[in-house]
Symmetry: C2
Subunit: 155 residues, 2 copies
Amino acid sequence: MQEKSTNTELLLDNHLCFTIYACSREITKLYQPYLDKIGVTYSQYLVMIVLWEREQCTVKELGEALFLDSGTLTPLLKRLQAAGLILRERSLQDERKVLISLTPLGWDLQKEAACIPSKMMEGTDMSEKELGDLLVQFKDLLGRVHSANTSASKK
Amino acid sequence: MQEKSTNTELLLDNHLCFTIYACSREITKLYQPYLDKIGVTYSQYLVMIVLWEREQCTVKELGEALFLDSGTLTPLLKRLQAAGLILRERSLQDERKVLISLTPLGWDLQKEAACIPSKMMEGTDMSEKELGDLLVQFKDLLGRVHSANTSASKK
DNA sequence: TTAAATTAAATTGTGTACAATATATAAATA
DNA sequence: TATTTATATATTGTACACAATTTAATTTAA
């Protein structure tokens, strides 16, 4: 009995984590054709979304919003800068910080990207309510896992 | 009115996809300390799980199980081979195929890895039922997104 | 049976992710 | 104030992930 229950847990847990991992990659693939049209990757698109909302922020703030560190963001931001979409400037108040802001081209991209989410909704073929419920559960799970990670790293 | 509704959809969709993406990476981080102990990455661990279930399979079958292609699997499998955990052999019946199987060391690893899922369950701090419900919803979403991808690529 | 089409892996090139480390600046404190 | 500590970003190295192409083997069809 005990053995079977344990085995069930093992499979359940492995499969849930795998399903989330696979789902994440499949969703990125679903974005791909639309992102190709505007010339950015999914990670770069997420950075742009943060900037469209906040206009300006530091690398650290971007990292907190997207759960990414400077090892990922620095080269990614250099590519966005090379593409003419953002500016990277050292803060004059605190020269450790790098301020990221949008160029006019970066702002223009917002209009071109506006159609993407609705196209994605069609792709999943789920109602707004279903997606909303999923989001609630998912944010809860993300919160739990993230806090488990941060409390573990503090040890 | 119409504008507000559209905007809500946009945010909802962006946030759901982002949350799944972030959640996937946070879960991988939660696995990390346990995977470090047995010396494999999360992707390599997934390959080992498939092999522990099936004993032997081709690269293509692994790819179908894990939603990965040979571009990802070939170097990954070479690393598992270099670590002495698997064998890679051309099929004699069909020399296009490469058969992947476990070494005794690869089988031994199963025992060391047995504790991982229960440790992960503790990490999320959710009941078996909650995780089970999430898994059902998630498999549904994965199925929808995957079929959207495969039907799109057939065009 | 030969030629064309298909299939299975491998290869190449780009772009993340992330741990670990380095560097430079700022804040705290002795 | 000089020194330590903390903070913000960059760098380095490893390992995916995947599109696109290549190579070799098998099927299909002419």
